[in-house]
Amino acid sequence: MSTAAIPYTVEARPDTGLNNVKLGIWLFLASEVMLFGSLFAAYIMLRTGNPAWGAGSELLSIPLATLNTVVLITSSVTMVMSWVAAMERKLGKFRLYMGSTVALGAVFMVVKGFEYAAKFEHHHPPAYSTFMACYFTFTGLHALHVLAGMGVNFYFGFLNTKMMASNPQQFANRVETAGLFWHFVDLVWIFLFPVLYLLNFGPLNHH
């Protein structure tokens, strides 16, 4: 058995009760939780240790970020609906929902682009303050994840759909897996949004 490759199958393994792909993506998401979790932990350390913290909301646009939150949550819904369509083997419906997911991801990136451009225009680059460094690091890493998700979703939506006819179970499993990554990206933003945009106050220490 030492030369056997890991099979591309949606069969549940008897030892885990899951198929390989499902377990694999959840393990990957666990590592991503640690990645973003470490960043959040670092932010909390920096914030509580720095009495001279300015109010970040003076530097950031809450309306734009609220729009992005709505965009990402909607894209999560269209993503899960595309999985439903894949389960139903309805190609047209699948393409519509997957296309919407990719499009909403693009909207998110465009809005982010405007935000970043405005920051640089107003001379608030990452070097301006610890807060701006944190802001660019967190949202930049998150945006890279959005971009990666868009690539995967576009591939399954428009370049790999033959598998819906030839191997529908595996295809629906792939779509669900891509969905798990996309929902995770949405989940990270759900935490990023209040922490960076809403929960920033002036100096905490009044000693």
């Binding site: 198929n19 998401l29 979790g37 240790g49 989940l187 929960l199």
Partner: protein, 105 residues
């Protein structure tokens, strides 16, 4: 409907209804989170309420969009272990550096 491991006897219509309910809840909670900002609450309650709402939203996404609520226990155990390690990463440095952050006079 063919059974994919983990989604045997899936009632897709029921799922879709759940997704729409979750979508509505997430929108409402987003508006509540933003609206709270204009209440000018003191620091500690503001942080606690905002993070509590974020955790509810996150749980909705995880449980229903990511199917965690009907997923095998093994996955839940993995994610709980991750949460445990996250708190370790968070609290380890905080606890050991507490005197630097908020010196006891």
């Amino acid at each position: 409907m063919d059974a994919i491991a983990g989604h045997d006897h899936v009632d897709l219509k029921k799922h879709v209804r759940t997704y729409m309910l979750v979508f509505g809840s997430l929108m409402v909670l987003t508006l509540v989170t933003v609206g709270l900002r204009y209440l000018d609450l003191p620091v500690v309650p503001a942080i606690m309420i905002a993070l509590a709402i974020a955790m509810v939203k996150g749980s909705l996404v995880a449980c229903y969009f990511m199917h965690l609520i009907s997923e095998r226990k093994l996955i839940l155990i993995i994610m709980l272990a991750t949460v445990f390690f996250f708190f370790g990463v968070l609290l380890g440095p905080v606890v050991t550096e507490l005197n630097e952050i908020n010196p006891i006079k």
